[in-house]
Symmetry: C2
Subunit: 122 residues, 2 copies
């Protein structure tokens, strides 16, 4: 017999939460996915634009990640047939679902900088 949802016991399920956490880490793992998502969500649409908006990224990496992200439904690639080599990328709803994570991370990063700066002055 299937257990019915018990709303009283364990409002938090640690095992389930680690799982969820590990899934997420798997999906957004690596150095570039989140910065790229962030860039496109910020309105950058052209390859070069995105490239310039992310310090340190190479074309190869950007190219690879964009391809994978398109496959995974994170972005749409719009290729203008009239202008060869005019491509635009746009974020899907799915892509935007990472907003909370990205915001939390930006926030943490800013505070971290402030903290380090403090430390140097001490």
């Amino acid at each position: 017999m299937a257990k019915t949802k018990n709303t009283l016991s364990s409002p938090r399920n640690p095992a389930e939460e680690v799982q969820a956490l590990q899934d997420t880490i798997y999906v957004i793992g690596g150095k570039w996915k989140l910065p790229i998502i962030n860039s496109i969500c910020n309105g950058n649409r052209r390859f070069r634009e995105i490239e310039r908006s992310i310090p340190g990224i190479t074309r190869r990496m950007l190219s690879r990640e964009l391809k994978e992200m398109e496959l995974n439904g994170l972005i749409r690639r719009l290729d203008d047939p009239d202008f060869p080599a005019k491509v635009e990328y746009e974020a899907t709803t799915y892509c935007k679902s990472f907003a909370d994570i990205i915001l939390a991370m930006i926030d943490w990063g800013k505070k971290h900088r402030a903290r380090v700066k403090q430390q140097l002055r001490a």
Copy 2:
């Protein structure tokens, strides 16, 4: 002359935000740091406890990460001299500063699971 902070223009600074994002990715990079932080913040204190709470992690990895995290001020290691091989770990305030990120990621992971399940039924 130094630019004074202009509260009107650019309440958001994209360049600064990518930086912050990349800093954060650097700090919590890899498969294990976040799950370990999460585990310790959830009250797991013993090595084995932490190990058991994180599916897939090996002793070697856990050991290495814990050592690094202690060096970086994320956790305190309490070694009981009376009981050799009785060690406890506890989270520092710094460690807890990752809570928002972790929560956002757990949340995303859960929704992701639900989404995938939906897809399979369709």
